[in-house]
Point group: C2
Chain length 546, copies 2
Amino acid sequence: MFGLMQDRPLLISSLIDYAATFHPHAEIVGRTVEGPVHRTDYAQIQRSAKQVANALETLGIESGDRVGTLAWNTWRHLALYFGVSGSGAVLHTVNPRLFPEQIDYIVNHAEDKVLFFDTTFAPLVEKLAPALKSVRAFIAMTDRAHMPAIDVPNLLCFDELVGSQSEQYEWPEFDERTASSLCYTSGTTGNPKGVLYSHRSTVLHSLMECAPDTFGVNSQMTLLLAVPMFHANAWGMPYAAAMTGMKLVMPGPHMDGQSLYELMRDEKVGFSQAVPTIWLMLFQYFDAHPEIDTRAIGLKRIGVGGAATPRSMIERFERDFGADFVQGWGMTETSPIGVIGNLLPKHLSMPKEEQTRVKMRQGRGVWGVELKIVGEDGQRLPHDGKAFGHLHVRGPWIASGYFKGEGGSVLDAEGFFPTGDVANIDGDGYVQLVDRAKDVIKSGGEWISSIDLENAASLHPAVAEAAVIGIAHPKWQERPLLIVVKRAGMEATREELLTFLAERVVKWWLPEDVVFVDSLPHTATGKLLKTKLREQFKGYVATTSV
Amino acid sequence: MFGLMQDRPLLISSLIDYAATFHPHAEIVGRTVEGPVHRTDYAQIQRSAKQVANALETLGIESGDRVGTLAWNTWRHLALYFGVSGSGAVLHTVNPRLFPEQIDYIVNHAEDKVLFFDTTFAPLVEKLAPALKSVRAFIAMTDRAHMPAIDVPNLLCFDELVGSQSEQYEWPEFDERTASSLCYTSGTTGNPKGVLYSHRSTVLHSLMECAPDTFGVNSQMTLLLAVPMFHANAWGMPYAAAMTGMKLVMPGPHMDGQSLYELMRDEKVGFSQAVPTIWLMLFQYFDAHPEIDTRAIGLKRIGVGGAATPRSMIERFERDFGADFVQGWGMTETSPIGVIGNLLPKHLSMPKEEQTRVKMRQGRGVWGVELKIVGEDGQRLPHDGKAFGHLHVRGPWIASGYFKGEGGSVLDAEGFFPTGDVANIDGDGYVQLVDRAKDVIKSGGEWISSIDLENAASLHPAVAEAAVIGIAHPKWQERPLLIVVKRAGMEATREELLTFLAERVVKWWLPEDVVFVDSLPHTATGKLLKTKLREQFKGYVATTSV
Ligand SMILES: Nc1ncnc2c1ncn2[C@@H]1O[C@H](COP(=O)(O)OP(=O)(O)OP(=O)(O)O)[C@@H](O)[C@H]1O
Ligand SMILES: Nc1ncnc2c1ncn2[C@@H]1O[C@H](COP(=O)(O)OP(=O)(O)OP(=O)(O)O)[C@@H](O)[C@H]1O
Ligand SMILES: [Mg+2]
Ligand SMILES: [Mg+2]
């Protein structure tokens, strides 16, 4: 027997409709590609989104068609977020930091029918255009005055195309499982694969982002959107923002420390999220400007995810900014909420020091994401904070597979998604990431965490960046190799570093050798590209054995 | 094209599973019917819920069957909430404060197969049992020692029946639209009608209750559940609590001021919700105990709904308790979140006085509840804070009709539910309730709000309670009649009250007459029973015309 409640589909169009109706004048403020700050509001974004929907119709875009974007966090991109998905088409956000050949691969694989791009990427688009067979029109996201002089077929101007459309548009109603957006993983572990979100998964994920146990998004907050909209839907924040009418501040392409600071200060930002690299850049700016009163900014909450957070970052945000710090773990495949590191009641009375230790774990389970860790045999391991294994997740905003079936059927027998990460889970449900499964070093049947070794090495003053990979070993199968970039003007020897590490990790974890390099390879999202390192150091033989 | 996200149904069992997994030891504390305080946790409630599911199987309960409860807010009732719905049966919470003939009607209409009841209601159950044809077993929610000595067929003991079951039970997976619980409206406007909630509507509603723009339910909070679990699912809080692992404090039958205060103090309650009557009772207790330091309780948030909130209540909670006050409007038919009166950013810098004015409105629209006000012709009226009309609502946790089709097809042409309330909506989306459509007084084509007149009359020191109804009038069709209960030992005349009102309302709103009575009729949920009053004063002729 079914309940007698209204059968309303969960659609992305309802989010912008809510904001435009109940928070029409809540602000959307952003730096533009052209430079100046642009101010608009939800009422206007809704009108622009409806114009986008009408424009797509004139371009012949139909329900399910992919619409590509190569763009920063701007109001035009926001209008595309709601206009494209709201109309029933699929918003395909392409990461412009990928290698050109990856972009080529992705756009062709997705069969994008049109491509919206910021003028920053005009040269890139010009270069790629001939290979992008499916793309019928290239739309520069700017006004007539700033149109790039490039040679691509069917080049259109966003403000002309979209601005000339009617603001009247009736959002279609359809099944909430309909695909809404598409985002490819960044490719640290092979060819990028497409994650195809649905309206349902997006709306449910937005609801969870409002819960205080995740981010507590609400209408009294002002968010600086420092996660790119081309990466996992900017962690879903554009949707959650509209769901609550939260004031949004967007940096456009100006992601440097000074620009971010100025936006925070001028727009009274209370909340922001980003990967650690962004915050390190911001810290560098403040290091160079000790005269700035960072507490005066009024930051209340800072979120970090995408990579492990150094303890010093947590401490600095809390000490210098008076902001509450929260780490999260997630993936493109998890929308991205996986786990979030808010404190439990019992932690509140603990000393700061211990709270920070809790916050260094990746985060705690929230409703909607079932977690398990399993051994090599697929059996569940206990949640005791010690046992570690492959982290598998299940829930309504977790991927069930990849676009066009890439990677085959990925779910395990219980329908969980294997994340490729190795972790332990403690009794309170806090997850600690040990390593990516592909990066963990299998030494004589035991596992060594490359992340732990990298973190330990990073504490040495002369180490700018460290990577640890496994190299083949006749007796132990694999042994760790430490690869180090030295800080400019500083020195350190192999022996010094090994002695330093010996005080911090168990003996059998000690790297077999240390090599010094000028730089380390990274992915488009700033993560260490270990596949490349493993290639480079294939067959490497340690100078002396320890 | 569908997205490629996991197809996980939204089921109530997932809520208790979450709490038991991630907050196993978060406390559930409650006064029992027997008296003492009982302490348990989510891990144990999950086990009890699974035992309930097994017990239902032994009783022959199948998916979709209704399981009745006549019970207070206790851990046993909580175990039924999750055990009954989780197993696929329908939890039918019966309001024990209804008149016996209404309970008889409701249980027979719902065809409850079994009835769980608190021993408080043993005499009532004994009296009703012969008429409850569908009920196969009566289960007293207590242990063997406290079993009531009543003569009903197949009388069982909860602790024996449930406690003897296995704690192993695999929740079934089914369509999320499956009916989960059933609650009848309280009957101010006719025979009670059943609202049949679904798993989907319940889970979505719980998600919204976590949003700070509604109640911000989270794991760091402690809630005193002062809304009865037999009334609109205790405003959905048992579900939202489990979704976050929030500590729950339950008063059982001990709803008097002293008991509530002691629970608040002993359990460090930060948040509570109730209808205004409950808070007035609590205030009376504090009036009699001026030595109590109300700020020391540590209340952070107070929610009120179900009836209009007097200004003095808002002020007192904020002044004496230091608690943030929030009013909400909702109905059994809206799960019950309709609108919630949190402040917007622009209000935060306003003087307290003006914030209170905002908080006296019923509340602001939140995502998931579309609102419109329409005139007699069904046309939408503007949201300008002035125009008022019938309030219609639409959304995934709003009823589409009543159980067994009572009342026919109720939705309007756009699929909105007509609430029966008359309201205006201002530019910020705050709703102000004018009256129930059936209570509004139609005077010469214009509407007079009975609520506004009652509120104005209540300000007079000699007025304990006031009701306003329409009486027939040869010229104006209807005119207001003010019916007053005087405060013990105080006096007031018809003329005095009319003069008092003349300073507070426009001239044509002035009541045609004033009558004094010893008491006013109320519904089971403490609301004025105006149908009864209208009957009583049918054909009433005013003594003199004004
Ligand atoms: N808080 C965190 N601490 C440590 N690592 C994290 C954290 N959050 C995310 N990660 C890492 O980032 C991964 C998710 O990143 P993302 O989805 O952006 O692409 P990617 O996994 O780097 O790319 P690809 O899947 O193509 O290799 C996780 O699987 C995890 O390894
Ligand atoms: N904040 C509020 N201020 C004023 N009135 C309110 C408020 N919240 C709820 N109400 C009133 O309560 C009604 C909902 O109450 P409920 O669903 O408990 O049963 P009922 O409407 O009293 O009973 P019945 O439908 O049988 O007449 C609303 O329709 C509205 O009239
Ligand atoms: Mg990945
Ligand atoms: Mg009603």
